[in-house]
């Protein structure tokens, strides 16, 4: 038996408004990610590490240690990008993050981040029968109530 359609799990979505134009917001978010990402608390290799986009990959480095956080799937400057997301894990554990940039007046940009792909973590094998019930419920709990509050 093959799977029915993968259950759609609510995306986790967050947004933030920043005081600059679209191009600047996109550039600072991507090219300057090492300057603003809170590595001390939200990295794999710790505070002393650095993080940057290297070609299509987002890479954290500390000396000879390397952690690939994900690979860019779509790059559409200055409107957004989409990438796989697996800090601390191999690509087989990837979820997906997309970041969209939209102008909000002349001097502000709204950045919307959407984190999806939980169903990939939930459906590793296409052979499993009787799938649809439980995990959908569990992931429903997991993703419930996180629809775009502003930061």
């Amino acid at each position: 038996m093959t799977h029915q359609a993968t259950p759609v799990v609510a995306a986790l979505q967050r947004e933030v408004r920043v005081p600059c134009d679209l191009d600047t917001a996109f550039r600072l978010f991507t090219s300057h990610i090492g300057a603003w990402w809170p590595l001390a608390t939200h990295g794999v290799l710790g505070e002393a590490a650095s993080v940057a986009f290297e070609g299509d990959r987002l890479v954290e480095r500390l000396g000879t240690e390397v952690a690939v956080w994900g690979e860019v799937l779509e790059h559409d400057p200055p409107y957004g990008f989409r990438m796989t997301w697996h800090p601390g894990h191999g690509p087989e554990r990837a979820t997906e993050v997309s970041v969209a940039f939209a102008p909000d007046g002349d001097d502000a940009t709204v950045v919307t981040l959407t984190h999806t792909g939980w169903e990939r973590l939930a459906t590793p094998e296409a052979t499993r029968e009787n799938y649809a019930g439980g995990w959908t419920y569990v992931l429903g709990q997991f993703a419930a109530g996180v629809v775009r509050p502003s930061v």
Partner: protein, 108 residues
């Protein structure tokens, strides 16, 4: 990263299957192993990991333990994810505010 134990626990297909089964209703080890292609000791081992990660809890019913989803197990993971992105986006906004203020003499 915090909540790593929960995320690691979710990384195993047998453990996800156990969570699916427990989502229906609480079950014993024997009940779970009869529904899965793995042995009772293997089920017990997975339950231990899930319990250690705060995803599952158990109550003793006579001579056997009954396992159930921990009410706040996945809420913790969810909260952690939300706080991760909020922290990152707030940090980005602060960085933008700092960068755009430099070189500008803003009238106060």
């Amino acid at each position: 990263m915090s909540n790593q134990a929960a995320l690691d626990a979710l990384g195993d297909p047998s453990r996800r299957r156990i969570l699916e089964l427990l989502a229906d209703h609480p079950r014993s080890v024997g009940d779970l192993s009869s529904l899965m292609p793995i042995s009772r000791p293997a089920v017990s081992k997975h339950l231990k990991v899930l319990e250690g990660a705060g995803l599952v809890g158990h109550t003793s019913r006579g001579t056997r333990n009954l396992y159930a989803l921990a009410p706040d197990g996945l809420a913790g993971v969810q909260q952690w994810l939300v706080s991760t992105w909020d922290r990152a986006l707030t940090s980005f906004a602060e960085y933008v505010a700092g960068s755009t203020a430099i070189g500008r003499s803003e009238p106060s």
